[in-house]
Amino acid sequence: MALTSPENKVWWNEPIGRAELIWIGIAFLWGVFMFGMMVWWHLEGNQNLSNEVYRVLPATFEEKTEAFTEKYTVREESDIPVAKPEPGAEVYMLARLWEWWPILELKKGQTYRLHLSSMDWQHGFSLQPVNINIQVHPGLEHVVTLTPTQSGEFSIVCNEFCGVGHHTMVGRIHVVD
């Protein structure tokens, strides 16, 4: 029994029951299938996180985001600029204690290259209610290719703990038709 040494000293030569063998086979194949599913989704699926990342100084990223915002600002909301880049543009959004800046206005069905980075600590880009979640690090510029498939008002909640103001960190993306 399980609490004592195996009675048969040469236990590795004992036969394995048929049912157990079948189950091992099923479980193994299921594992191979699940592995293949991730690989296949990279080839055929539409939801894969980009691997395009650059090292960047927070100050440099801030400059780039400010230049982007200045170029594309169309209005303000709650004193935050709303940037409306042309389709296909390089789009910048920075995370800092405790805001996502600026607000973006995108067109449905158009593809954008969204550059994300943090000015201070780690933050969690959580696009709601779509439910896309991406970790944002300081010092790393992550370029995510994004195509909105719905129009409306979307929020970015921070879902990586970033201090006492964490729960007030909300950003915005508008998607228009």
Binding site: M1, A2, T4, S5, P6, K9, W11, W12, I16, G17, A19, E20, W23, I24, I26, A27, F28, W30, G31, M34, F35, M38, W41, N46, Q47, S50, N51, V53, I80, G124, S126, L127, Q128, P129, N131, I132, N133, I134, Q135, V136, H137, G139, L140, E141, H142, V144, T145, L146, T147, T149, Q150, S155, V157, N159, F161, V164, H166, H167, T168, R172
Partner: protein, 577 residues
Amino acid sequence: MNTAVEIGIIGGIAAKFRTCPATGLKIDIAAQNLIKANAVAAIVFLAVGGVLGLLVALTRWPAVHLLDADMFYLVLTAHGLDVLLVWIIFFEMAVLYFCSAILLNCRIAAPKVAWLGFAMMLSGAILTNVTVLMGESSVMFTSYVPMQADPNFYLGLILFAVGALLGCFVFLGTLVIAKEEKTYEGSIPLVSFGALTACIIAVFTLASGAIILIPTWLWSLGYISHIDTVMYKLIWWAMGHSSQQINMAAQVAIWYAIPAILLGSKPLSEKVSRSAFLMYIFFLQLASAHHLLVEPGISSEWKVFNTSYAIYLAVLGSMIHGMSIPGSIEAAQRRNGYTNGVFEWLRRAPWGNPAFSGMFLSLVLFGFLGGISGVVLGTEQINIMLHNTIYVPGHFHATVVAGTTLAFMALTYLLVPLIFQREIIWPRLAKWQPYLFGIGVAGISLFMMGAGTLGVARRHWDITFSDATLSFDYPPVAFLLLGLNGMSAILAAVGGGLFVIIIVASIIWGKKVDASNIIAALGPMPQKRVSDAVTSYGSAGTFHLPGTYILVGIFFTAFVLYYFVNWKYLSELWILG
């Protein structure tokens, strides 16, 4: 005192021991005291961490919203530390000593080193707790850089990890002594093999913890200027996630041990069960990747291979245990005479024995809630929908609380008579305890996973965003689910509180156990002869186990369905490429 302490030769040198009236094993008094100390420390931290957890759940219940923001983040940090690390690892030390010195009939190696390890763990745990409670270190259990805690926060954790490493080496030393002095014949028992698996993983885990926390501590003191944020996560999670794999190995060992003691069960195949443990050693540690699936700076190839534990070979190990354990129970029960129909063996199992009910609930809840959700959550692309949502704590409350904690509680009901030599006080109350706790934790897991599917963030004080410049409303169902989570947490807290009270009271006031009542003290079981279990009977040859096939079939169907439902949800997301 009923059991005489003798001086005799065990494991080659003179040591104090007593003879266990149930099994005839020589029990090294030094090992027994170490098991007692570690188990008691574990239960104290479980009590503290459990209360903190209740405060967290009551704050996340929007209608109650108990603590203010500062206090919430402080309490959440301490909750994670105390239950995810301190309670679990202290108890695992007790399990390691039990599975080496006691089961192998041996003296424990270097008990003074083991006591030094215990003292380091205890002082480290206290130091970190005090530092957190003083404020200024509310950095969460994960303490991701560049957010910085007080240096003593890291120092306490380093002390704890190094102390636990000493315990691991004492375990390994005890195996060497037992082998050299031939205190057992042939191979070590399967349960000890499982404990050895846990120990090997623990060495990897605790060393990783020390490797990342020592530079982080120096950084907090100003001696190092920069810690890379992605590298920190990679190595930190080699401790943070892999320490849960110690639990995995330890709890599976307990799932084999309890039915062996109560029902006389035997693994279906020694070879298969041991190979499954071996897969844990080879592959479980890759799970650090589960926390890096939506990080910048790591390639998809790395993510896919590591998150799948090398093509799901560690999951294969768990699925093998998932059949072998209920199979061994069914086989033993059929041998015990419960042969009617497909499920008489299960219906007539000792459900009134908290050790058995706790163990079986732990197995089922871990498999269905924790295991399936873990694989889904750890799928590279699906993780985009779930990363850092409250689905994540939903998943790991199913594994670590419903799985590991409940398994440890179940084992404690046997350690009290066998090691503390006391009867369980209030057996009727004890009978209900695993159900209260198990159902409460199942609720916590399910409702958090439900809210996470709706996008609710974890570690978040205010999902109404009342102080935010821009507003956002989660769907109303999310509020309902968090309310139900709070109610489940109350139920689980009642169950957990009962456990602590029953065990502490039993240790202090329980009736003493000796040869006359030891079997009865283990609680109801079909065969009232525990020493019989030591001799050979069990499942060998009885390979027709229809009940187990049905249970495994239900599990697999649920797994496959839930897996594809999540791919379906994923395909509806915005296009990312």
